[in-house]
Amino acid sequence: MSFSVTEPSNRTKWFAGFMVIAYAVITIMPLLWIITTGFKSPSDAIAYPPKVLFEPSLEGYVNLFTERTRATAGMLEEAGEPTTWYDQIVRENGMLISGPSRYGERFLNSVIIGFGSTLLCMVLGTAGAYAFSRFRVPLKDDLLFFILSTRMMPPIAVAIPIFLMFRNLGLNDTHLGMILLYTAVNLSLSVWLLKGFIDEIPIEYEEAALIDGYTRFQAFYKVVLPQAATGIASTAIFCLIFAWNEYAFAVLLTSGTAQTAPPFIPTIIGVGGKDWPAVAAGATIFLVPVMVFTILLRKHLLRGITFGAVRK
């Protein structure tokens, strides 16, 4: 083994590892608490001292997806035998299912708006980034910087005129309105990041393609796009995560048909107070996909979150 003066000693490594793991365990606790609370019964969820070991229950998930009404013994009798396992769980608490909750719809809205805006953003962003990277666009740098700087505004400040504009155009509380809005918010970051990725592709490839008789457009989608695929994918996941997590615009501009999950989840309440297992269940379903994407994305994380200012 070669000796290096910059290689930390084993003791240092042990100490560093211990400290970092300790921090990681503490920092992951709230997240584990969300996931476990989702599987607790309501009484376990509010037990003191907090229960680490508990009997798993799907009550939170059932409550999340259903609307229930309190039923008298007679009504329960009348309803006959429970037909499904979730029916069973609800009946044990002396209630009857009166219909599905809104969570499914809200989650679907998040999916539609998230993926819709990401797709649109990638189409516009890749084209824009290619043009900014390869052609002379007048006032290029000023334009890019100004567009980026509009992200410094608090979303509430931007929301005032957008609210008025959407109201006049009939876009308030519509999927289309939210898709356009999130696309615009993400577009500056996407163009900026994608331009960085495209800049790294040697221009010689396209020139070779052009000499072989491709048109500019063919060269773009047959040569540049495949080369930029990784960059496009990681930028897309960033846009998706932003649209997925966004709360301020969603809470101000949507209320019914197009409301996404983040403004909805905090409003989940049960009978007589907040139904924490249901909230936790809703949060778990909503957060776990992002956790998975984060793990997949870990190599590209830095570039995305720093607007491409730090590459590595």
């Binding site: 920092t27 957008i162 008025l164 773009f220 809470v251 983040p262 909503f286």
Partner: protein, 315 residues
């Protein structure tokens, strides 16, 4: 235009072939590619900005669109800058900004420094630490109110466990003195990984050869830390502070879910205050002026800061 090989080829080929090579002209393609983005950004970013500036000189109220709009000149600005409530809001924001940035820089840098010791499995643990940052602040913030519950919350239980205090004796969210710290703690938990990641990139950008040279000169480890590590990470650290500063200045989702500005208005940071003015009191003209002031403040401070950052980088 500089001559690219394509231009040279184009000049050397006969006209019909040249047309086939070039297809649409570059200029046309550039415009076709950029125009939709520019259009969307003009419509959703720039146009509203101009509209906000225009509204800020009027007494328009969005909940009464049919009322006559009066031009009030600079009166909105005057009222905002002399309003003591706004200054309380600014104070709450300043407290939030100062403590979150201070804690995140200290913890984030320490973590990055330790991770850079390259112990076994550091990749895995880094990914674990990064998780909170990527999640929805509104959803997670909402859940933190559960952790902060006086009787049943995990946070209170842990504090009780170590200090022996009565778990129902303090309420992080309900207490005037503790609420500002409740949002600082949650934000620090969420965003420390961000500072850590940037610091880590900074630390990894320092070439080993510099340390080797220092070792040859018999510089102590402490000396190496202060004269090599810190100066070389500083530009990265400043960048992290810039990002966190801008983000926390406009912080809305986490705080609104955690405390909603309360108790009273003790944690009413600017975004929440602005939301109340614009969407609860419906003073659209007034809040537009407020928004313009905030934008000018952030933009001004950020520009000065970026200048300082560039100076540090040059050294």
């Amino acid at each position: 235009m500089t001559q690219t090989p394509i231009d040279r080829v184009a000049q050397a080929t006969p006209a019909p072939v040249a047309r086939r090579i070039r297809g649409l002209s570059d200029r046309a393609i550039a415009w076709i590619f950029v125009a939709p983005s520019i259009f969307l950004l003009l419509a959703v970013n720039i146009f509203p900005l101009i509209w906000t500036i225009r509204l800020s000189f009027t007494n328009f109220r969005a909940n009464r669109p049919n009322r006559d709009v009066e031009w009030v000149g600079l009166r909105n600005y005057e009222r905002i800058l002399t309003d003591s409530d706004i200054w309380n809001t600014m104070q709450a924001t300043a407290h939030f900004l100062f403590w979150t940035i201070a804690l995140q820089v200290i913890i984030g840098f320490a973590l990055a420094y330790l991770i850079n010791k390259k112990f076994k499995g550091n990749d895995l643990w880094t990914t674990v630490i990064v998780l909170p940052m990527m999640l929805s602040p509104a959803v997670v913030g909402n859940f933190w109110t559960f952790l902060y519950q006086p009787q049943i919350g995990l946070f209170n239980y842990v504090v009780t466990f170590f200090t022996g205090a009565d778990p129902s004796s303090f309420s992080m969210i309900g207490d005037v003195h503790l609420a500002p710290w409740a949002i600082v703690i949650a934000d620090t938990w969420m965003w420390t990984p961000f500072v850590m990641l940037i610091c880590l990139a900074g630390l990894r950008s320092i070439p080993d050869s510099i340390y080797e040279a220092a070792e040859c000169d018999r510089a102590s480890k402490l000396r190496q830390f202060w004269t090599i590590t810190i100066p070389m990470v500083l530009p990265f650290l400043m960048l992290a502070v810039l990002f966190r500063g801008i983000e926390n200045f406009k912080m809305f989702d986490l705080v609104v879910q955690l405390t909603g500005g309360g108790p009273g208005s003790i944690t009413e940071v600017t975004s929440i205050n602005l939301k109340r003015e614009a969407f609860e009191k419906w003073r659209t003209g007034y809040s537009s002026a407020y928004a313009v002031i905030l934008f000018v403040t952030v933009f001004g401070l950020a520009s000065i800061y970026v200048k300082a950052l560039n100076k540090v980088k040059e050294r």
